[in-house]
Symmetry: C2
Subunit: 667 residues, 2 copies
C-alpha cells in the first residue's frame, strides 16, 4: 500500500531540514530576541542560559560561543546542564564594546555511548559488541578530523584502544578525561545546531552603571546677590560638591538664551528686564548649541572647569536639549529645518491648546533630512571635544526613535565612553524603547514611588523584569521640573528618606541642588518649585540649618566603599511587620558585603517594626547569632535570633543601615 | 563647527531606516515570535493585541490585517487603543486551515490635526492657519490617491471644504464620520510600519479542541471468557460507550502482534502458550502497520465498525506506534531502516541497562532516510482511507522532531481534519515542543496533579501561560500504562473526583476502560495495573457494583449542553476556605452559561467549606441574591450573600455543580 514513490520526498523535505533535531530557545540575556543589545559594564559577569534539548535519549554537548569586540577571537565555553533542559555558562566581560554570543549544541554520540556503557558495566552486561560500536565512533572521528591536528590524536586513541586487552582497560581508556576532552573538542558533532542568530551585548565603562549625580545651574552660583554666576563660580563651588561624594556634576543647558518671547519669573509669559530666561530656550545672536552663554564665560573658562572638576573627582555632564529659541542662528541659516505656517511665521512648540512661544522645534524629515541629523550629531561630537562625555538628553521621546538610534551609534563609534541619560517621563513602553535603542541610562518613575507597596513592586520590576536586561534607571529625587509632593509636605526627614532610597536602591541616582537644603517651596498645588531657577537666578545659603549634607556624604561614601551597592539587581526585600518601614538587603554574591536598610517611609511619625534578619542567607538557623555594624553610628553588636526590632524616629534619623558579617567572615 | 559634510550621511543612514518611527511589539497570540502557529478551532474568536507606539505626540492608526486560508482576500480591521500603547481587535475564525496576520500602523496626520483642532476650538483659538494646514493635508491626500478610486472622494472633499464659509461649517465637515472614514481608509500613511513578519494561526475542526475519549482494547470485548475479542464484539459494545456520552473511541494498536520474544502476562519475559502479547509489538508474518491482527477481524469488519461508531456518535481513534516486533515485514524488506550490530543481530530497543527484546526501533537517518519517513506517512494516509482521522501517537518524543513536523504537515495538506494526540510523558520543554511543531493535542501532567495547590498551579499555567497559545492538553485520568496512586488508594470517590476534574477543567479528556468500574488493582508499589490488559485478555463485568457510569453520563451530557465547558481558558479558581475543596467557575464571556464546581479532593473524609459566590462577576453587591440550579439534583434555589457553605461527603457525592443565573437572565 505504499502509494507514494520515494522520489516525491525531494519535494517535501530536504535532508538538512530533516536533520534539525536540536531546539535552542529561551536564551538569556536577550532583548526582543536579539533586536537590541543587553547592557553590561566592564567587570560584570555575563550569565548565559538557554533551553537546549533534542528528541530521544541522548547526551547533548552545548557550547557558548562568544565573540568579543573588535574582531578578537571567538571564545568557546562548555555549558552545564542545570536540569529540565536548562543550560548555563558564565563569562567575565573585560572589554568595552559590542560583544555577541551564540549557542551551539550537538548530539554527542561518544558521550551517549560512554553513559550507556557505564550503566552496562555496572549491570555486568557483555561489552564486546559495544566496544565494536565505539571502535566505529573512533573511526568516524578520524575520518571527520581528516587533515586537522586532532586526526593524529584520534589515531593514537585508536592504536591505544587496539592495544587494550581487557574490558576494564578499554573502559579506563575511553572513560579517561583525556579521551572525553578529545571527543568533546574534536569529535564529530551529530545534528549540530546553533541559535538562530547571534545575540548582542553592549559593555560600557563602569560609570554607565554606577554614579551619584549632582545637578546645578551655574548661573545661580555667584556669591554676589543678583549677579549672574560664571564657570569660575562653579570652580569655586566644586569642593562643596566633591565633599558630599558625588561622581557627576550636571548642568542644564549652558548655551546662549533667546530673547524673543523669553519667559519671566515663575514661567510668566512676559519677562521683566533682567530676567535671564529659561536655559532651555537655546540660541541667540551669540550662537546656538555649540556656543556658551556669554555671561557664564568662554570656552577657555569651560575647559578650566572641566579640568578642575576632574581633579575633584567629578565628571561634567551637559544637557542636550533639541529645541531652539526663535533667535537661534539655525532658523535663518537653515529655514528648511523648521516648520512654517501659511502666513510666513514659524510654528512654535505647542501641545494644543498650550503654546510654548519661546521655543521652536526642529523638523527631522523632508528637507531637514539629513542636514539637521548631522548638525545635531556634530553638536554632541563638538562637546565631546570640549571634554564632556556625559549627556543628559531632554525629552528624547518627542524626537524620532531612529534619530536617537543613529546618533548614539554614531557617537559610540567615535567614542564608546559617551553616556546618554534619557529624560523621558512618559509611558513605560516609550521609556523602555529609548533604552533599547541605545540610551545608557533612563530617568524613571522612582521619583513618584513612595509607599512600601509602590517601591517594592517597582524595584522588583526594574531588577527582575524584562527591562532589567537593557534599562539602567537613574533615580533622581528631584529635578528643576519636579518638586515631588512627598518632599513638599514631608519636611527634612522626607529628604533623608528619599536620599537613602535613591542612593541604596539605585546604582545611579541624582539630586538637584537645593535638595540637600531640604528646599521644597512649591507653586500651590503643583509639583513645580516656586521662584524656579529655570526662570531666575537663585542665591542659596549652602549652610542653611537643617541641611542633610551629612547624610549625603555618608551614603555616598558607603556607595563608594561597598561592593554590594555597585550592583543594581541584587536587592532583596525582607519582612518588616510595618507597612511604613521598607526593609531590604543588598549583597555581593559571596555575602562578603551584606548591607541591610530599614527606612521609615512616614516622615512625620516614629515607626517601629519587628523584622527578619536573613540568617538563612548565611545558612544559619533561626536562633543563631550574627555580628552587625551599625553603619551610621559605627557601633558593633550582635543579633541573636531571626526576629529583631527597629524603631525609627524621623525627627532623629528615619533610617538604619547595618552590615552583617558572615560567621568567621570579619576581616 | 559643523565638521562633517552632509554627504557623509549616505554612509550611515538611509531615508527608509530613518523613517522607522513606529514600534510594533509584544503581539499576541504568538508562539516563539511566529516560528510556530497558535492554535484555534473553527468558531473561536481571534483576539489580537499588540504594543504600538511612536515618538512624539501624534495620533496613530492601527490595522489588523488577516490573511485567511487558501488565498481568500486579506481582511483589514481597525484596532482600538486599550491604553498604555496596547491595541486590540477581534476576528471570528470561520474556516479551517492556516491563517496569518500582521499589524500595520501609521502616524495619522489628519487624525492628529483633528484632535488638536478640537482642543483649539474648545479654547477658542484662531483657526485660519490651522485650516490652511488641513487644506494641505487634503491636497496631499489627493496627490497620494492619484489615479485610485478615492482620488475623486478627496477632490469632492476639497470642493466642499472650499464652499464652507464659517469655522463651524469647516469643522463640521472635517469632523464628520464620512471625512474621518475617508482619511482612515484612503488617506496618506506617514511612517507606515508593519509587524516584522506575519504570525501564523492554525484553525482546526472543533473536535481538535473538545472531546471526551474512551479507550478500550478490542481484544478484551469478547463476551466469552478466554476468547479473543473482535471488531464485531466492539460493535456490540458501542451502545455502552455511546450511552455514557463519549465522543471518541480509541483503540491501542490493532495490528498483527510479533511472536519473537513476545511478553507474557504482567510483562514477564517469556510468554505462555496462548498469551496474546503486547499490541505495541507490531508486526508479524500477517503484516505490519498497514495490517489488522487477524483475530480482530478484517478490513471489511473494521469498516463496519467505523460506520457503526459514527452512527453512535463516536469517532474512532487509532494508535500510531512507531516500533516493530522482530517479526515485522519491514525488517526483511528494508534492513537499511534498522540498526544492526557487529555480530549481524538487530539492535533491540533498550534504555541501558534495560532491554526491550520484543521491540526494535526504526532508524530515521542515513540509509533509512527518506524511505522510512515516507513509509510512516503512508501508514497514516492508509488509515485515513479506512475512515480514521484521529491518531494517538505513542512516545513521539523518542522520534525526531523534524519527522513529526514534516509528517503532520504532509497529512494536513492531504486532510486538515486529522487530529494527532501526542503521548509524550516527558519533560515540559519536549512536551511543549511537540505541540508547537504540530500535534493537535497533548497528554499532560494532569494525571499526577491531585492537590488543590497542584491543580490550581497547573491549570493556571496551562490556561494562561505561554503554552496556552499552542498546547491543547487532553486530561486522561488513567491509561493502560498509568494506574495512578490516587485511584489505587482512594476508592470509588477518587474516581468520581478525577472524572469531574478532568471533564470540567479539560475540554479534551479521556478514560481508559475499567475506570468507570473503579478498577485499580495494581502491581505492588507501582503505577501499573496488575494483570494488565497490555499482556492478556481481560473480561470485565460492565455492571459491576460501584461503577460510576451515572456520573460519567451526567458530566458528559453537561459538557455537550454547556457552552462554558467548550472553552479551556475560561476557568477561574475562587475562594473556598478548605484546602481539600477545589472550587472554580467556568463561564462564557457573556455570563449566560455560568457553572461552579466544588470538588472534595479528599476521597476518604467528608469536608465542608465556606466559599465565595462570585457575585461581583455579575456586578452584584456582596449581599445580593442570585438564583442557582444544582446541576446534579436539578433543584433550584437562591443564594443570598457572597459567603455560602458546602459539605461534600465522598461516600455520597464528592462534588457539587451549580449553574448561576444572572439577574433577569433566566430563559
Amino acid at each position: 500500500m505504499q502509494k507514494k514513490a520515494a522520489d516525491e520526498c525531494a519535494v517535501t523535505i530536504d535532508e538538512a531540514t530533516a536533520s534539525r533535531r536540536i531546539v535552542i530557545s529561551h536564551i538569556e540575556p536577550q532583548v526582543d530576541d536579539g533586536r537590541y543589545a543587553a547592557k553590561f559594564c566592564v567587570g560584570d559577569t555575563l550569565a548565559v542560559s538557554a533551553n537546549v534539548f533534542s528528541d530521544g535519549h541522548v547526551e547533548l554537548s552545548v557550547d557558548l560561543e562568544i565573540r568579543p569586540p573588535r574582531g578578537a577571537p571567538t571564545v568557546k565555553i562548555p555549558m552545564r546542564l542545570l536540569g529540565n533542559d536548562r543550560w548555563a555558562a558564565d563569562y567575565p566581560l573585560t572589554a568595552r564594546g559590542t560583544y555577541s554570543f551564540e549557542i551551539v549544541a550537538w548530539r554527542d554520540d561518544f558521550a551517549t555511548w560512554l553513559s550507556d556503557a557505564r550503566k552496562r558495566m555496572a549491570a555486568r552486561q557483555p561489552m564486546e559488541l559495544e566496544f565494536d560500536h565505539v571502535r566505529g565512533l573512533i573511526d568516524s572521528a578520524i575520518e571527520n578530523a581528516s587533515g586537522s591536528l586532532v586526526e593524529d590524536e584520534f589515531r593514537e586513541l585508536a592504536a591505544r584502544f587496539a592495544e587494550c586487552s581487557t574490558t576494564e582497560e578499554r573502559m579506563a581508556l575511553l572513560n579517561s578525561t583525556e579521551t572525553q576532552r578529545l571527543f568533546r573538542t574534536g569529535g564529530p558533532r551529530a545534528h549540530e545546531a546553533a541559535s538562530e542568530h547571534a545575540l548582542p551585548l553592549i559593555v560600557e565603562r563602569r560609570r554607565a552603571g554606577f554614579g551619584a549625580w549632582y545637578e546645578l545651574m551655574p548661573r545661580s552660583l555667584s556669591r554676589v546677590d543678583g549677579q549672574h554666576g560664571t564657570f569660575d563660580d562653579v570652580i569655586a563651588h566644586l569642593p562643596y560638591v566633591r565633599d558630599m561624594g558625588f561622581d557627576v556634576l550636571y548642568f542644564p543647558p549652558i548655551h546662549p538664551i533667546g530673547k524673543t518671547h523669553r519667559k519671566g519669573r515663575n514661567n510668566s509669559l512676559v519677562a521683566e528686564k533682567g530676567d535671564p530666561g529659561s536655559p532651555y530656550a537655546i540660541g541667540s545672536q551669540d550662537g546656538g548649541h555649540d556656543a556658551i552663554h556669554p555671561e557664564l564665560g568662554d570656552f577657555a573658562d569651560f575647559k578650566r572647569l572641566v579640568t578642575a572638576a576632574r581633579e575633584a573627582g567629578l565628571e561634567i555632564a551637559l544637557d542636550f536639549a533639541i529645541q531652539c529659541s526663535p533667535d537661534h542662528p539655525w532658523i535663518k541659516a537653515h529655514p528648511e529645518w523648521f516648520k512654517w505656517r501659511s502666513d510666513g511665521s514659524i510654528r512654535f512648540a505647542e501641545n494644543p491648546p498650550k503654546k510654548y512661544e519661546d521655543i521652536v522645534n526642529v523638523e527631522f524629515y523632508g528637507a531637514a533630512f539629513p542636514g539637521v541629523w548631522l548638525a545635531l550629531r556634530d553638536v554632541v561630537l563638538f562637546w565631546i571635544e570640549q571634554g564632556v562625555k556625559i549627556f543628559r538628553v531632554d525629552n528624547p521621546h518627542t524626537k524620532p526613535f531612529p534619530f536617537w538610534q543613529w546618533l548614539i551609534s554614531e557617537v559610540h563609534a567615535h567614542d564608546p565612553d559617551v553616556i546618554f541619560l534619557s529624560e523621558a517621563f512618559t509611558r513605560p513602553n516609550i521609556m523602555q524603547h529609548l533604552a533599547k535603542i541605545g540610551f545608557t541610562q533612563s530617568y524613571s518613575y522612582f521619583t513618584w514611588r513612595n509607599t512600601k507597596e509602590e517601591l517594592t513592586t517597582y524595584l522588583t520590576e526594574l531588577t527582575t523584569g524584562p527591562s532589567a536586561a537593557f534599562m539602567r534607571p537613574n533615580f533622581f529625587v528631584n529635578t528643576p521640573d519636579i518638586n515631588p509632593y512627598y518632599l513638599q509636605t514631608g519636611g527634612r526627614a522626607a529628604f533623608q528618606v528619599r536620599l537613602i532610597l535613591a542612593a541604596s536602591l539605585g546604582t545611579n541616582y541624582g539630586i538637584y541642588s537645593g535638595f540637600e537644603l531640604a528646599e521644597a517651596e512649591a507653586l500651590p498645588g503643583r509639583e513645580e518649585y516656586s521662584d524656579s531657577e529655570k526662570y531666575q537666578l537663585k542665591k542659596r545659603d549652602w549652610d542653611r540649618p537643617g541641611h542633610i549634607r551629612d547624610d549625603i556624604t555618608r551614603i555616598n561614601n558607603l556607595r563608594k566603599s561597598s561592593a554590594a551597592l555597585h550592583e543594581f539587581k541584587n536587592v532583596t526585600f525582607y519582612n518588616a511587620w510595618n507597612d511604613n518601614i521598607l526593609y531590604y538587603g543588598k549583597t555581593t554574591a559571596d555575602l562578603r558585603d551584606f548591607l541591610l536598610f530599614a527606612v521609615n517611609l512616614d516622615p512625620k511619625t516614629p515607626q517601629g517594626a519587628h523584622f527578619e534578619v536573613p540568617l538563612w542567607e548565611f545558612g544559619l538557623s533561626d536562633d543563631a547569632s550574627i555580628e552587625v555594624d551599625d553603619v551610621v553610628s559605627g557601633q558593633r553588636f550582635t543579633w541573636t535570633g531571626k526576629i529583631q526590632h527597629v524603631y525609627l524616629d524621623p525627627a532623629l534619623q528615619p533610617y538604619a543601615i547595618w552590615r552583617l558579617h558572615a560567621p568567621g567572615g570579619r576581616p
